[in-house]
């Protein structure tokens, strides 16, 4: 079970069979024996039935994610796993969990006029309840989706980030606890997404199991090359929606897949016996069996 600090399957107790499963035809329904012992469910079923249960628990339907965010995550899935869902053996791919959070809608206070797509500064509140204590942060990114219809060659942007501290719920306007400003330069030709790495900025907050992160992002961009004195007030059509927060995590729980572990496991596989060690050892047989047909052939 995860530590009590964060949300996790252990928070949901009792019989955890997603309601849809109970409507299923009997052959797909979980056998009685399994229903009794919730802990018998393999981790994925546990998580899923917990989710199934939660989405109906308080009668509130599951919140639907932003379609752009869903498109981005589907693209990430295609890059990280094969069509059958097997994780790709990619050296740079150290994460085994990626979480995408969209800001809570009721907390946005925009200073620019969103309708004209001119978004200079926005207040964002991200709720990280779903991050468990066993998930360790590898990288965090603010993800802007751009309206690529704007004819831009290249962009030089100044981004100013500040995290708001809301010590007590009574405090009305949170004060800035720490902030950072940095410039970035990128080509927005076909790219629909721009990732702004905020790992070092958010690391201390996430490491202390902060559940809510409240930040103000001020983003000003100039078209063309900053060396040539472009007009200061030329704002491109900024991201038409507030950014999402992407967390690349290493889940250290047992049910999560650990690349380094699987390599180690292969070398020391206990089911592979030592040849000739047993009094009954068959001298002719080879180890392991994937399928009889291929053996016979």
């Amino acid at each position: 079970p995860h530590s009590r600090g964060r949300a996790g399957p252990d928070k949901v107790s009792g019989l955890l069979v997603a309601p849809e499963v109970s409507e299923l035809s009997p052959l797909l329904r979980l056998p009685k024996g399994v229903r009794r012992g919730y802990a018998l469910l393999p981790p994925l079923l546990k998580v899923l039935s917990a989710q199934g249960r939660q989405s109906w628990e308080n009668g509130v339907p599951r919140l639907q994610p932003d379609s752009r965010a869903l498109r981005y995550m589907k693209r990430l899935y295609k890059m990280s796993a094969t069509k059958e869902g097997i994780p790709k053996a990619n050296k740079s791919h150290l994460y085994n969990t990626v979480r995408l959070f969209t800001p809570c809608s009721e907390c946005e206070h925009r200073h620019g006029d969103l309708m004209k797509g001119d978004l200079r500064s926005v207040d964002l509140l991200f709720n990280l309840d779903r991050v468990t204590a066993l998930e360790h942060l590898l990288k965090s990114v603010l993800l802007y989706s751009f309206d690529t219809s704007v004819p831009t060659s290249s962009l030089a942007c100044m981004c100013h980030l500040s995290v708001k501290e809301q010590d007590s719920s009574s405090q009305v306007c949170p004060s800035d606890s720490h902030s950072v400003a940095f410039s970035l330069h990128f080509e927005v030709r076909k790219r629909k997404w721009v990732e702004i790495d905020v790992t070092s900025f958010l690391q201390p907050l996430i490491a202390t199991n902060r559940r809510n992160i409240h930040m103000a992002v001020n983003f000003t961009c100039l078209m063309g090359d900053p060396q040539h004195n472009t007009k200061q007030n030329d704002f491109i059509n900024m991201a038409l929606v507030p950014p999402s927060l992407l967390l690349y995590l290493n889940d250290t729980s047992e049910q999560a897949y650990h690349r380094w572990n699987s390599l180690r496991h292969r070398r020391k596989n206990p089911t592979r016996p030592r040849q000739g060690s047993s009094p009954f050892a068959d001298t002719t047989e080879t180890e392991g069996r994937t399928s009889t047909q291929s053996r016979r052939a």
Partner: protein
């Protein structure tokens, strides 16, 4: 067994090559021996496709079949399996025969929507059986 094979060959009708290999199979390995079987499910069958975005289909596979008496190293079985078989056959048949179970697995990547609307990509260990053993 050579004489029996010879006699049965005489009886065996002249037939194209593949019948012959089928015919010999009965001598090589017992039928329905412990092996890996394929099983594909789609999350829409379980009505979980509301929150499992990918993959659409999943093949967990499973192990089924009889464990031969002298398993030896054929399945990577330890000596204990042999001993258990002897106990079952000669001492106490209430002790179960060795069972055909998965020996190795591969992971699965899953993309799901969380109850709060956030989206998570996760890689789970041991989700697809890739090899069987007798234990």
């Amino acid at each position: 067994s050579r004489r029996r094979r010879h006699e049965s060959l005489k009886e065996a009708p002249a037939s194209p090559h593949y019948n012959l290999s089928e015919y010999f199979k009965q001598f090589l390995f017992p039928q329905n021996e412990c092996e890996l079987h394929s099983f594909r499910l789609s999350f829409s069958q379980l009505k979980w496709d509301k929150w499992i975005i990918a993959p659409h289909r999943y093949s967990p596979q499973y192990c089924k079949g009889d464990c031969p008496r002298a398993v030896g190293h054929r399945y990577g079985s330890p000596v204990h399996t042999m001993v258990q078989n002897i106990i079952y056959e000669k001492l106490d048949s209430s002790v179960p025969k060795p069972s055909c179970v998965p020996a190795e697995y591969s992971p699965l990547s899953v993309l799901t929507i969380e109850p709060d609307g956030s989206i998570v990509y996760k890689e789970y260990e041991d989700m697809i059986a890739t090899k069987c053993t007798c234990r």
